[in-house]
């Protein structure tokens, strides 16, 4: 992915590649959009959001799903905080399904699935896991496992049948797919590019994510994410009361 993939290249603020298996955090301001791009195909990006002013306000999976009557996220959906506000809106999505349910891998799981690969042996290709990666990033802000809530797993798809049985759908995201998150409040963003915990592949092969951040307009009264359901309209009202 290059600059031309960004809607208004002159508004671009920064870009960064996050290699597969890495972790990253940063502050995304209200009025900016973050594009996360799957450059290789088959990526997974486990992401969490915290209000940068009050980090006890955080992305809430349950409120996000029940408010929008959905068990997955795509364009038109928003990510709710646990305080009834919109943290970010999914303004574009070429992939169609992002998993908010399945969480992240841990060290034991990665060791059993992919074997040992230490830093001493493999340097920065050593095996990492989602839980440890997110704990590592949260620790930079004085946060810990109490702050680690169910993640949104961008680019990954898990479906359920009528009995609730879950199935990972391979190939949900292909090279060039992307998702745009427009931030409605200043947010601390924490993410890991480790493989999805249900990824059936037998090899440790996490994929890169390309980040691009640009200045974007605040949502108007006709905004599709605001108007996708009455719940979102009310959550935007709650949010905008913080930014008079």
């Amino acid at each position: 992915m290059n600059n031309s993939a960004v809607p208004v290249p002159e508004q671009l603020i920064w870009e960064q590649r996050v290699p597969g298996g890495a972790h990253w955090s940063g502050v995304l301001r209200r009025g900016t959009t973050l594009r996360l791009g799957d450059t290789q195909g088959g990526a997974n990006c486990s992401i969490l959001f915290y209000n940068y002013e009050e980090r006890l306000e955080r992305y809430n999976m349950a409120d996000t799903l029940k408010g929008q009557h959905t068990a997955f996220l795509s364009s038109g959906n928003v990510c709710y905080s646990d305080m009834g506000r919109v943290m970010c809106s999914i303004t574009a999505d070429s992939c169609g399904w992002h998993d908010p349910v399945c969480g992240v891998s841990n060290a034991r799981m990665v060791r059993e699935k992919y074997g040992e690969a230490s830093y001493q042996e493999k340097h920065n290709d050593c095996h990492k896991n989602g839980y440890g990666s997110l704990i590592n990033e949260l620790g930079k802000y004085g946060m810990d496992r109490r702050d680690l809530m169910p993640t949104l797993n961008l680019f990954s798809k898990v479906v359920t049948d009528d009995e609730g049985n879950m199935q990972f759908i391979a190939g949900n995201s292909v090279a060039g797919d992307y998702v745009d998150l427009r931030f409605e409040m200043d947010a601390l963003v924490v993410l890991s590019t480790c493989q999805h915990p249900l990824d059936p592949g037998g090899h440790y092969a996490p994929k890169d994510i390309q980040l691009a951040c640009w200045r974007s307009a605040l949502p108007g009264p006709d905004d599709p994410c605001r108007n996708s359901c009455p719940e979102n309209q009310r959550a935007f009202i709650n949010t905008e009361r913080m930014f008079p």
Partner: protein
Amino acid sequence: MNISESNYSSETALFREVVPAGKPFMYTIAKGQVVRILDLEGNQAVDTLFYNAKDSEERYDASNTIREQGNLYLSTGSRLLSNEGNLMLTIIADTCGRHDTLGGACSAESNTVRYALDKHHMHSCRDSFIMALAEHDQGMSKRDLPSNINFFMNVPVSPDGKLSFADGISAAGRYVEMRAEMDILILISNCPQLNNPCNAYNPTPVEVLVWDPQ
């Protein structure tokens, strides 16, 4: 659905307490002990969290639990896992058949989003949780509220990914029973929600019973 009945008799319980709707409940059980939550009048959502009694930073984790069992709903045989991936409790009896893992707790703020901005004043599970943790006085707070279980609540997800709050499938006298696999601090909010069918618009009491292992 995996309906199964208990071997434990309520007459031999070492602890019994009725929890009215809108009230929280906290209690510690030892490894091996058995806890039952009994829906006394039917269709009552019971928002529940579990913590390692020796280290409350280790707590029930919805994602680990449902992913590792490969199923969204809890019933007999479900293994409730912690954020560390450890087994906390096992469901050993269940006469309801399905319990929710995705709906989370109601809160004043989510009520404004889901129903109307003027619902903020209404009592909610998160308020019960926060007040119970404050009274517990062990340094736990809103920060210690992960995504909870809703026993007896019916939140079906369709194959195309739609989620709904449906009418309850529980009834008076139905229960769920768990064996503690480590020392467990239980935190319950007997749900006061009046705006959706999770309590059949009429929140009612539940009973908690505890036994030593037989």
